[in-house]
Symmetry: C2
Subunit: 136 residues, 2 copies
Amino acid sequence: MDSTERLKEKGIRPSHQRIRIYETLASTKAHPSAEAIYKELSEELPTLSRTTVYSTLDLFAEKGLAQRLALSGSELRYDADISRHVHFRCRGCGSVSDLAAVRAPAPPEAQEGYVVESSQFYAEGLCPACSSRLDP
Amino acid sequence: MDSTERLKEKGIRPSHQRIRIYETLASTKAHPSAEAIYKELSEELPTLSRTTVYSTLDLFAEKGLAQRLALSGSELRYDADISRHVHFRCRGCGSVSDLAAVRAPAPPEAQEGYVVESSQFYAEGLCPACSSRLDP
DNA sequence: GAATATATTGTACTTATTACAATCCCGTAT
DNA sequence: ATACGGGATTGTAATAAGTACAATATATTC
């Protein structure tokens, strides 16, 4: 299924900007921030505005087309892979990757009165490159 | 054990500011931000600086005296309860609470080359007050 | 008690994000 | 086809969280 269909399916009007933002997000495993996506697309779409990128990613997260990742780094990161998986943030280089070998916990059941809408499991530490660079 | 001992135990010099910041953090279940702690202590310690609060909380997190919580809200929150438990952020009022009934997952085992130093599991949605206010 | 190290303060700055008003663009009804 | 209306996009300005840094104060060691 192409990106246009994906957006429609989630009730999002598939404008050119939205399609390109989605495709950019979906084509990487780097878990980019809004700024990273903005930079990536700036050449191709010189009039693209930061505000559009921010609000579009926000919309994707609302509509369940992407995950919003709040990690200890400063900026929010996004992931077009909405399957349940564990994220890892390296405090050495700031990169965010998937811990594919780790089974992600199921979303918690709500306690009395709580409505759970999403959940996240993530770890922090050193990635292979940084641990060999900093540790030994 | 008193706060002074706790700080010493973790290799933190127990200055007056640090002790009061720790006690403030330990006396609440609200998971306050640096700013919230700063405001709370400002009356009592009029010369207290934001920078001190930020760097002290950072130090606590480094030394394992507190958990740093990165949630989808804008600011980092802190928790003096370092036991493994699940956090919940309400998108209605922004409050952060513990989901006591939910068993927190164990820290993930590192994949080849990764060094896992900490991990977090959290959920988002509506707290009891907001869900009855917004939903029905 | 002097010398040294560590902690705190205050200010300035950076960076991420949001607010908002103006403009643009697309789909539909005339 | 063309005009209308609403959502989408843009650009600028503002806010808010966090960090850098140099000066000062406080504590610790000799």
